[in-house]
């Protein structure tokens, strides 16, 4: 048991570190650029030097690196303030799906611009009526000639307005059971009939969009997998979403609340001397540490060429509620000032209030607490599924309550 790189890993890390030190974008370079422009600048630079999407095969723009090399690269890149979140869906979810299900010509055409940052992709899976029941999506696609004509609404699409392409799951047959009537496509986000509207969240941010489709046409050639096989293709995407490994980042929060507890007072002494504060902080610390070392165990598996266990899926579940409770408790430490979010007056410029308002989203996005617990119970512990009343029933006959 040790925390050291193997010799090969160390060499790779050194190579990455050297290149990054010489090439990471400076604040001056990024000054004045918006999020997308900055991300594209940096992505192109990585691409040109062979440091983009390094796990991908060379012919698609990568360098055929191993999983642990990817992690090492991520760790090293994280030491610099580099832009790039806008590519996460395209490179992390759309690309692996394309590699698994796309035709060779699709891959050769679309993967390199994803790697180089020329194209941004988004994901169009969720729908208002679906929620946790992702496959209950209703947006229709009907075959007209060589095209499919799309009508309906998607939701929770991040980056829809600056994306070039989108991956989408559509209901191509509502008369068969839920999972069997879906097909999977990628489509041009500039197609006529697409209407994108931002969704304002309670945190005040608008990271997501609703996307409305009115007679939008997508060529049948852009279908991935067979007609009716959309759910299986979608599972490839979703698996890649869940496989995203944080490289040991086990949630944040302890540090911020610990620091606050050293500043504010209870009974005339620093709050950190208060045993109630200490007990709570200790439990949160232990949770964060547990997530961090669970991440280390996954990295170890990667380093050995194994696939990490299902432990990773606990991260979001634990971190989201912890963040909510910690933010709430931090505000309690501020006492009468707890609710003040005003950057001009609030402690830490509204940090805790921001955590508090963002936390409910963390407990829902990417699978609600309840869905994560189901997944752990069924896929990890192997417990039997709940009763499924919609099983085997034609989708258009499943009760919907509306």
């Amino acid at each position: 048991m040790d925390f050291n790189d193997s010799a090969e890993e160390a060499a790779f890390r050194e190579q990455a570190r050297t290149w990054l030190a010489a090439n990471a974008p400076t604040a001056e370079e990024l000054a004045g650029l918006d999020e997308v422009q900055a991300a594209k600048l940096w992505q192109k630079r990585k691409y040109d030097a062979g440091w983009a999407c390094i796990r991908w095969p060379e012919e698609y723009g990568g360098r055929g690196a191993s999983a642990i090399e990817q992690v090492i690269w991520n760790q090293e890149e994280a030491k610099f303030a580099t832009p790039g979140g806008v590519f996460a869906i395209g490179q992390g979810m759309a690309a692996p799906t394309l590699m698994a299900w796309g035709k060779e010509e699709h891959k050769r055409k679309h993967l390199p611009p994803l790697a180089s940052g020329e194209h941004i992709w988004c994901q169009l899976f969720s729908e208002p009526a679906g929620g946790s029941d992702l496959a209950a999506l209703r947006t229709r696609a009907e075959k007209v000639g060589d095209d499919w004509v799309i009508n309906g609404q998607k939701i929770w699409t991040s980056g829809a307005h600056y994306s070039d392409y989108g991956i989408i799951v559509l209901r191509t047959d509502p008369t068969v059971p839920k999972h069997k009537g879906l097909s999977y496509f990628f489509l041009d986000m500039k197609s006529p009939g697409i209407d994108i509207r931002p969704i304002k969240q309670i945190s005040g941010d608008a990271n997501f969009n609703e996307v409305y489709f009115t007679d939008v046409r997508v060529p049948d050639d852009q279908r991935l997998g067979a007609v009716g096989q959309g759910w299986q293709v979608a599972l490839t995407t979703l698996m890649n979403e869940r496989m995203a490994i944080g490289g040991g980042g086990g949630g944040v929060g302890f540090r911020q609340v610990f620091d606050l507890a050293r500043k504010v007072e209870i009974d005339g002494a620093p709050a950190i001397r208060d045993k109630n504060v200490r007990a709570k902080l200790a439990t949160w610390y232990a949770q964060e540490a547990g997530l961090k070392y669970t991440g280390y165990r996954s990295l170890t598996a990667l380093s050995k060429g194994e696939i990490p266990g299902p432990e990773n899926s606990i991260g979001k579940l634990v971190a989201a509620s912890k963040t909510q409770d910690m933010a709430s408790f931090a505000m309690d430490l501020l006492e009468l000032s707890g609710a003040v979010s005003d950057p001009a007056y609030g402690a830490a410029r509204g940090l805790y209030q921001g955590m508090f308002m963002g936390a409910p989203g963390g407990r829902i996005a990417g699978g609600s607490d309840e869905i994560m617990l189901n997944i752990l119970a069924e896929r990890v512990l192997g417990l039997p599924q709940d009763v499924r009343v919609d099983k085997g029933i034609p989708f258009n006959e499943v009760p919907t309550g509306r």
Binding site: N276, S337, A339, I364
Partner: protein, 370 residues
């Protein structure tokens, strides 16, 4: 044993419910959330017409002279409606402070105006992050003038006067002062609940008169908070009940995997837990109401008990209401956020859960010592 509100009090509740459904629907709350107004002036006026601010004000000061039980009923309904008005500051704090410690002439001057809603009062204790203590007070009273910064002061931007906890330069410790706010430097302060306005008040040798005996400010503030805690707790249980109702309704209508999500144990048990917390908190509020209404010796313990359980109940109900709504609950468009914001605001603005837990045990210790 009669541990229920009277028929008259229940009638008052019915009227309040009907009135608030009409005059304080979610759209009214949203208007304050989204707009620039500090509070809902139209609603405030109508509430005044109903005489709600006058509830416990003696008749000789233009009040109705009812008991605090009636005020508890109103508090619960205002909490349920997440009403965007300065009621808690003006009624639970300023009016109570005057009743508790005001001189005859102070009461004569202010109570009639407070009772009609024509004047808004507030209470100014906090001076920034952390637990306030007498030793840390930096607002100083000297020669009938106050100097120092109070932040945040609920409704401080719209109040006509504030009851201020300050230190007399004569060295008597903390005392209460009544300061008219017209002309005093006030800046609105953003909080996570924009439906209730807050301000920073910078006293710069502004006029103020003593309220109550000198040196008694801290003890009076504690007594005032014990009284207000019961009323805040009723607002909290009202809000918690509304949040549970929202969750129940949504979960019964929303389907997943072919059946209502309310039929899944994960949701059922979540809401049952909320019901349990709400029921316990409400029962403790009943006892708090009794203690407040009779000015019982048990008030400190009853108030802390109601406050602790109401804070826990509203936090739970408001966050799990969002969770039950899923992604939509996290959108600005949905009303779940009202309770989530208000729950947290109410939980800190007369002292945190931990502070009241400590007070609760102190009250138990005191009862044992007696």
């Amino acid at each position: 044993m009669n541990f229920e509100f009277s028929d008259e009090q229940n009638l008052l509740r019915e009227q309040a419910v009907g009135f608030l459904q009409e005059n304080c629907p979610p759209a009214a709350v949203r208007a304050i959330l989204d707009g620039d107004a500090a509070y809902d002036q139209a609603l405030w006026k109508k509430i005044a017409e109903l005489g709600w601010m006058a509830t416990v004000v003696p008749e000789r000061y233009g009040g109705i002279g009812l008991s605090h039980l009636e005020l508890c009923v109103i508090a619960e309904e205002l909490g349920r409606a997440v009403a965007p008005v300065p009621f808690s500051s003006s009624v639970y704090l300023a009016t109570e402070a005057l009743l508790l410690a005001g001189s005859e002439s102070q009461q004569e001057k202010w109570l009639p105006k407070l009772a009609t809603g024509g004047a808004i009062g507030t209470f100014a204790l906090g001076e920034g992050p952390g637990q306030p203590t007498p030793a840390k007070l930096a607002t100083i009273a000297a020669g009938g003038r106050l100097a120092g910064v109070k932040m945040p002061v609920a409704d401080g931007d719209v109040a006509d006067f504030a009851v201020v906890v300050a230190k007399a330069d004569s060295g008597d410790g903390a005392s209460l002062y009544l300061a008219e706010l017209d002309g005093v430097a006030r800046t609105p302060v953003a909080t996570l609940d924009p439906t209730r306005s807050h301000a920073r008040i910078a006293f710069d040798n502004d006029a103020a008169e003593p309220l109550g005996a000198p040196g008694q400010g801290w003890a009076l503030a504690q007594r005032l908070f014990d009284r207000a805690a019961v009323l805040f707790a009723w607002e909290q249980v009202g809000g918690a009940a509304a949040a549970l109702d929202m969750a129940k309704e949504y979960a019964s209508q929303r389907y997943a995997f072919g059946r209502p999500i309310a039929s899944y144990q994960a949701i059922k048990h979540k809401l049952a837990h909320a019901y349990v917390k709400n029921t316990l908190a409400r029962a403790n509020c009943y006892y708090g109401a009794w203690a407040l209404g009779t000015d019982a010796a048990e008030l400190p313990l009853a108030a802390a008990t109601a406050r602790v359980s109401a804070t826990q109940a509203y936090y739970y109900a408001s966050k799990e209401n969002i969770q039950t709504h899923g992604g939509m609950g996290f959108t600005w468009e949905f009303d779940c956020q009202f309770h989530y914001r208000r729950a947290k605001l109410l939980s800190v603005n007369i002292g945190s859960e931990s502070t009241w837990q400590d007070k609760l045990i102190a009250a138990v210790e005191q009862r044992n010592a007696a």
